[in-house]
């Protein structure tokens, strides 16, 4: 019998185009206070803490050590860090709770994309010998993927524009989002992607609390139970991948049990409109599923936190009784290379 583990609280910062006046710790601290207050827990009550962030975004080595100051790790805490989106920090925390070593976990992540030229910075993620020296940027790579989809007949520019419009309209009720309401599709940034097809560049932080079994029921009126969670990675070289498909997403979803019963909601980490098309296909989501009611990454895309935000948003809908079974997805790497899928459920 596997231990039951749930998301019992979620908090996030506003996603802002720039946070020059704030350090990462200052951006993170209100979020940590918020998520702890929701449960009444203090740092010392937490069994395990795990975070996700990137030194490259911060522009300095060991950037996460400063964030630890914000947690208040005294007396010393049981703690770990992944150089990945916070969704993977949540996965590590989930396995820690599964072992029975801890009953509660604090998961947080943050990213400031504003200090550097983000498109250039993300090229440093590519194969350092054969690809990175060419500096192909994240938008250009996403455009390759979008063009492949159009060529395959999977979508067209007006369908992509409709995705963009739907997300930003939905975001109009999300006070944390960066782009809300009516946003023009704009000019081509990299053909066939227009500015409207691309995510805003922004800074933000998010935090989640996990709890096991009865502890979850004590801390939350309607816990979002993690029925399954899995993540998989595809090959790195774009030339050996079919960019119109995402086998790693499909496999992760299968392992997480996503196809056992239909979900009513899906929060997809699709920073580009075209990537929602790929993910809908891989996850077999039809029009009855409410996709990205928060507005998704097209409305707010704090890198390193945006995946954890998807899990948090899906869980929050279950907490509020607006969903009974939701899928949350996170991605990393160029053109959806690495993908995580979680299936969350509320009890009736």
């Amino acid at each position: 019998m596997t231990r039951e583990i749930a998301v019992v609280a979620f908090a996030q910062s506003d996603t802002l185009r720039t946070t020059e006046e704030q350090s990462e710790v200052e951006m993170l601290m209100p979020v940590l206070h918020d998520v702890l207050e929701q449960t009444g827990l203090k740092t010392a009550d937490i069994g395990f803490t795990c975070s996700g962030s990137s030194d490259y975004l911060a522009g300095r080595a060991f950037s996460f050590t400063l964030a630890l100051d914000g947690v208040g790790a005294w007396p010393p805490i049981s703690e770990s860090h992944v150089e990945m989106d916070g969704a993977w920090a949540l996965y590590e925390a989930w396995t820690k709770l599964l072992t029975g070593d801890a009953d509660t976990a604090l998961v947080y992540s943050y990213g400031k994309s504003s200090p550097g030229p983000l498109r250039d910075v993300l090229t440093r993620q590519l194969d350092p010998y054969y690809v990175a020296p060419l500096w192909p940027d994240s938008v250009a790579l996403a455009a390759l993927q979008a063009q492949a989809l159009i060529d395959a007949g999977d979508t067209d520019e007006s369908a992509l524009a409709a995705v963009a419009a739907r997300c930003r309209t939905d975001a109009s009720v999300n006070s944390r989002a960066q782009l809300r309401g009516s946003v023009p599709q704009g000019d081509y940034l990299v053909r066939p992607l227009r500015t409207g097809d691309c995510p805003p560049i922004g800074d933000g932080a998010a935090a989640v609390i996990l709890a096991a079994g009865e502890r979850a029921r004590e801390l939350c009126a309607r816990p979002a139970w993690i029925r399954g969670i899995d993540h998989r990675i595809d090959a790195h070289a774009l030339g050996v991948r079919d960019l119109t498909d995402s086998p790693s997403t499909r496999l992760a979803a299968e392992k997480a049990g996503a196809f056992e019963r239909p979900v009513d909601t899906a929060e997809l980490h699709a920073p580009f409109t075209s990537q929602e098309v790929v993910l809908r296909k891989a996850l077999e989501l039809d029009d009855t599923v409410r996709v990205n009611p928060s507005g998704g990454p097209l409305a707010a895309n704090p890198i390193m936190a945006a995946g954890l935000v998807r899990i948090g948003e899906a869980a929050a809908r279950i907490h509020r009784g607006e969903s009974d079974r939701a899928l949350a997805h996170a991605t990393s790497g160029p053109c959806l290379q690495q993908n995580l899928v979680a299936v969350l459920e509320g009890e009736s």
Binding site: R60, T65, P76, E79, Y91, R124, H231, I233, P247, P334
Partner: protein, 388 residues
């Protein structure tokens, strides 16, 4: 539901050197991974998940390099996690991988840590620019030298203790074909005559910069039963963290280190580490950290650690051998250094440490630390499976 016992059934590492110009980053990690698979007599297909760790991405200039390494490590179609907990990362990475097995999320996991320091200059990579830090601290030695001086003042240890550690570790390294430094003509006098870098730390009491990788195959009880060679069993494992700087922090013997060791001993049922643990492979980047950690880990009373070193207890043929492999003082691919400690502990209890094997090593501690003496990860491995 009890945890699944975790066994180490494969260990592989590269021959650590200053610069591996003959291989790419992918080639380096693959070499260690293949050796671990060979040791376990497994293939890539037997691996369910990959957990990789390394220190700051600036050391190679690749952001989140695990994305690019997925192919080289046979991770395509599998789960892949990337851990980064500063200098302790090699140990933490092994513990995260062990957790996947303990939680029964996966049966057999490949864990690997690496650093290819020749791609950059680690000392300046660690020296943060203004406004993050005053321009006073050059590299890790500049940060840790005051802590060493504090230890010497507190304990009244003689100035020579540091050189004894370095002399021992560099001689141990001569017995380890994978070690980076092989100083065949080393003498205690040479160590003591080497240039002063960060007073009281001399050049020969300092870790080198290395290129290298270390990998382990971790598996469950069923996997261990199929192992062609004796497995090492994890008897306890823990991580602890505290802030870098705060009023009241004990930089010489941090509370997080004490708490981490206590947690490991509790899991393993160890009441007296000095009597019940046969050898220790600990993270000693600067010689004086051997006596400091001996106290922090409970092998000596406060102020007494240096006496163990001075009296030869920590020699390879001593009563409590420390850093049988030659330690971080002889090999330091930073991100991998913690995992090399963990792997050496496992090699010892498997009886596979070759010339640097300790007789009757049944329970051995692997230890790593990082950041400003603030991140700790440790595991205790044994020749016999855990009792429960």
């Amino acid at each position: 539901m009890s945890k699944e016992p975790v066994a180490v059934v494969g260990i592989g590492q590269t021959r650590h050197v200053a610069a591996r110009r003959d291989v790419s980053i992918a080639g380096l990690v693959r070499e260690a991974a293949q050796r671990a698979l060979q040791d376990a007599e497994l293939t890539w297909a037997d691996i369910d998940a990959v957990v990789i760790g390394k220190a700051p991405d600036f050391f190679e200039g690749v952001m989140m390099p695990e994305l690019y390494l997925a192919d080289a490590l046979g991770a395509v179609g599998k789960p892949m996690l990337r851990v980064h907990t500063a200098g302790s990362v090699g140990g933490s990475t092994a513990l995260v991988a062990a957790n996947l097995v303990a939680a029964r999320a996966h049966g057999t996991v490949l864990t690997l840590a690496f650093e290819k320091q020749s791609e950059s200059n680690a000392m300046w990579g660690l020296s943060l620019p203004i406004p993050f830090q005053q321009p006073l601290l050059a590299g890790a030695g500049g940060f840790f030298a005051p802590h060493v001086r504090a230890y010497m003042r507190r304990t009244g240890a003689p100035d020579t203790v540091g050189s004894l550690v370095a002399y021992k570790d560099r001689r141990n390294a001569l017995k380890n074909p994978y070690a980076h430094l092989h100083e065949h003509d080393i003498t205690l006098e040479k160590v003591q005559a080497s240039p002063m870098l960060w007073d009281p730390i001399r050049y020969s009491e300092t870790c080198p910069s290395s290129d290298g990788a270390c990998a382990m195959v971790l598996t469950d009880r069923a996997g261990a039963a199929r192992s062609p060679r004796p497995p090492a069993w994890m008897l306890g494992g823990a991580m602890r963290s505290e802030p870098t700087l705060f009023a009241g922090k004990d930089c010489v013997s941090p509370q997080a280190g004490k708490d981490c060791a206590a947690d490991v001993y509790r899991q393993a049922g160890i009441a007296d580490p000095r009597r019940e643990i046969d050898a220790v492979e600990m993270y000693v980047p600067f010689s004086w950290y051997e006596p400091m950690w001996l106290e922090n880990l409970g092998f000596a009373d406060e102020g007494e650690g240096w006496k163990l070193t001075e009296s030869g207890v920590t020699e390879l043929d001593g009563d409590l051998p420390v850093n049988m492999s030659g330690g971080v003082l002889s090999t330091n691919p930073i991100g991998a250094s913690g995992m090399i400690r963990f792997a050496e502990a496992a090699l010892q209890v498997r009886g596979q440490a070759g010339e640097h094997q300790v007789d009757r090593a049944r329970r051995v501690l692997g230890h790593a630390y990082g950041g400003g003496s603030q991140f700790f990860s440790m595991w205790l491995v044994g020749a016999e499976p855990p009792a429960s």
